[in-house]
């Protein structure tokens, strides 16, 4: 889960990392109230999960209520690279002497944590890494050993931060490491980490990605769940606990396992179709999960055929078949579906499927044949008419119609 800046700062604060005083605002009036509380001058910052906010005009300095009003009105509702601004963070503007960079993340290639610190903060760190790699001090950390004050000191020295920032930076790095590990984050990044003219070091921005697998030990994360960032289909899928990514095609995909689901998208593409989504029902998916998955696919007006591709390992064939049966009884599925079922208990599953097969529910023995069949059904567009008028189905139909329309 990616946190918004304001959430990241709240998370940092839990671990004692100094951040600017500020507050959240969803309206222009709120923004003024928060600015009064923080004390002028303030910075009005768009809360979106995308880089380059400043360049897009989503971060503005305001010296008084008038200016806060003006900037807040302009930024709220602004579209930044496809992300609509619904919320602002208003904080007291800091005097900046120097801008640094600090982060912790996992280096998958080394299978160890990687700490990075640079005296060249405030800009895209990828650009620094490319143009001046020597400006970033890096250190691998053995997760079984940990990160000590001596490690932090060495990093700060290697990064050649200014002497006045030394102690503050060492302290923040240790706290940031604790936030990364105990806070179960995939990434914690401060850019910029600033030094004020008064010699204080603090986090001016916060980028935090939480590790979803650890949510069971972090009840406090519930406060962060903000699903405004997702499209309608993704929101529905999340509410049902499904691994779903919306795409812009017309063949609905349900598969078990991320690899098979990706491969299914690829194969549909190869035979002339376009996947409407990626949906992985995971290992051990039961009837309920399958029924939920079909409901989500069914809610997508662009879907003109459904391809269910299941190869059972943990997932058992008869459970999948029962799920399809349950779903057919629960909701009216508008698009025709092709089911390919194999692996653990596939025979039992196929027997169950025989009881529900019709001209809209059919099975196919191989992945490639099933994909061809699904694309063919989508191409003839038999069931697209009902929904195509509402949500852009028409345009996606014409662009993807080479399957046989």
């Amino acid at each position: 889960m990616d946190l918004f800046e304001y959430q990241g700062k709240q998370y940092f604060a839990r671990y004692g990392i100094p951040v600017s005083a500020g507050g959240v605002a969803d309206t222009v009036d709120d923004a003024v109230a928060q600015a009064e509380a923080a004390g002028y001058p303030v910075v009005v910052k768009a809360q979106v999960q995308v880089g380059g906010r400043g360049k897009a005009g989503g971060i503005k300095l305001a010296a008084n209520a008038e200016e806060v009003r003006e900037h807040a009105a302009h930024i709220l509702g602004m579209d930044i690279k496809g992300h609509v601004v619904r919320r602002l963070w208003i904080e007291h503007a800091s005097d900046i002497a120097k801008e640094y960079y600090a982060s912790f993340t996992l280096d998958r290639a080394a299978k160890k944590y990687l700490a990075m610190v640079s005296a060249k903060g405030g800009v895209e760190i990828e650009a620094v890494a490319e143009e001046d790699p020597g400006a970033i001090a890096r250190m691998h950390i053995d997760p079984a050993v940990g990160f000590t004050a001596a490690d932090a000191t060495r990093l700060v020295e290697e990064a050649r931060l200014d002497a006045e920032a030394h102690d503050g930076a060492v302290e923040i790095l240790q706290k940031l490491y604790t936030c990364y590990v105990e806070g179960d984050a995939d990434l914690v990044e401060i850019n910029p980490l600033i030094l004020t003219p008064q010699g204080q070091v603090h986090a001016l921005d916060a980028k935090v990605t939480l590790e979803d697998n650890a949510s069971f030990r972090h009840p406090e994360w519930d406060d962060f769940r903000d699903i405004d960032e997702f499209d309608e289909r993704e929101r529905l899928a999340r509410s049902k606990g499904l691994q779903y990514v919306g795409l812009d095609g017309f063949v609905g995909i349900i598969a078990n396992g991320a690899g098979l689901a990706m491969s299914t998208c690829d194969v549909v593409n190869q035979v002339g179709g376009k996947p409407a989504n990626f949906l992985d029902i995971g290992g051990g998916a039961n009837a309920e999960v399958m029924a939920n998955a079909l409901e989500v696919i069914n809610s997508d007006g662009n879907v003109r055929a459904i391809f269910i591709n299941i190869f059972g390992g943990i997932t058992r064939g008869e459970e999948v078949a029962n799920g399809i049966k349950t779903a057919l009884g629960r909701v009216e599925i508008s698009a025709p579906m092709v089911i390919r079922l194999d692996g653990t208990n596939a025979e039992e599953g196929r027997e169950i499927l025989k009881t529900v097969e019709s001209d809209k529910v059919m099975s196919s023995p191989t992945m490639l044949d099933a994909a061809r069949k699904a694309v063919e059904l989508a191409g003839s567009g038999t069931s697209g008419g009902q929904s195509s008028g509402t949500s852009g189905g028409q345009s996606s139909g014409s662009s993807g119609g080479k399957g046989g329309a």
Binding site: L106, R108, A109, K111, K112, Y113, E126, D142, P143, A144, V145, V181, D184, D186, E211, N213, A214, F216, R217, Q243, V245, L247, A255, N256, G257, A258, G259, L260, A261, M262, S263, C265, D266, V267, N269, Q270, P275, F278, D280, G282, G283, G284, F311, G312, G313, I314, D342, G343, T344, T366, M367, L368
Partner: protein, 294 residues
């Protein structure tokens, strides 16, 4: 021959009394695997269909001589279970658990590296390993694999592993060992480990490799193949149509920068002399062609 496991492998199932552990542990046994013990703290002295249960892995090893472990324990306890197996002297640990917190996984892996270099971990979040006709540890449906070789399979994705076995069986091609390494960020065993083992195994004469977007393990595998693998390799990479920056289910399957795209991986493999194919069915067909010419 086979790699990592064979007919002499004796397996203890950690979590045999749980739903998944019982279902798959018993299936593994029915397949012919020597499943000699189960471990569930507090349930020592019981049995699951005749398989004795012990409180600790150490006791199970002492009583039965188990040398491999199948960890089917929920995410909260899985990392500790892996380390318990290593501490008891188990040389090969297969962990199928999905959803282990990344920090737990990173700590467990590095603890193995630091303190138990004699233990190989397969997984977590993997389907396991099968040496057809000899030993099946994990969740693979054994009947989809044809014994006898000459193909070794290594795959990052569980369901694609089954798909690979199935395609080869349809074409009458046998398998020495099929290893599912899993898609988590810190896998215990990676492509290079398996490629090296297959290269050393005289009965494996061709290798099928199933990768996916994200990370750089496939690129590392390509470099290793160019330098050290003499046997023919067929590779398929899933995720050509995946939009960049989106997480496609597996923690592992996320693209960062230009590295990690399906295209970059396929190019790296092709330039290492690997036969790169575009779907699992093609992989089977290409492999059957190669096997015929061996």
């Amino acid at each position: 021959m086979s790699i990592f496991v064979d007919e002499n492998t004796k397996v203890v199932v950690q979590g045999l009394t749980g739903g998944q552990g019982r279902f798959h542990g018993l299936r593994n046994k029915a397949y012919g695997t020597q499943v000699v013990a189960g471990v569930t703290p507090g349930k020592g002295g019981q049995d699951v269909e005749g398989i004795p249960i012990y409180d600790t892995v150490k006791e199970a090893v002492g009583a039965t001589g188990a040398n491999a472990s199948f960890v089917s324990v929920p995410p909260k306890g899985a990392a500790a279970a892996i380390l318990e197996a290593a501490e008891a002297g188990i040389a090969f640990v297969v962990c199928i658990t999905e959803g282990i917190p990344a920090h737990d996984e990173a700590r467990a892996y590095n603890t193995l590296v630091d303190r138990f270099p004699g233990t190989r971990l397969l997984g977590p979040n993997c389907p396991g390993i099968i040496s057809p006709g000899k030993c099946n540890i994990g969740i693979t449906a054994g009947e989809i694999a044809l014994p006898g070789g000459p193909v070794g399979i290594v795959s990052r994705s569980g369901t694609l592993t089954y798909q690979a076995l199935y395609e080869l069986k349809q074409l009458g091609v046998g398998v020495t060992t099929c290893v599912g390494i899993g898609g988590d960020p810190v896998p215990g065993t990676n492509f290079v480990d398996c490629l090296a083992a297959f290269e050393d195994d005289p009965d494996t004469r061709a290798i099928a490799m199933f990768g996916e977007i994200g990370g750089s393990e496939e690129e590392k595998a390509a470099a290793f193949i160019a330098a050290s693998v003499t046997k023919p390799v067929v590779a398929y990479i899933a995720g050509v149509t995946a939009p960049p920056g989106k997480k496609m289910g597996h923690a592992g399957a996320i693209i960062s920068g230009s590295k990690g795209t399906a295209q970059a991986k396929m190019e790296a493999l092709a330039s290492a002399g690997v036969h790169v194919v575009h779907n699992p069915t093609e992989a089977g067909i290409k492999m059957a062609e190669i096997v015929k010419e061996l």
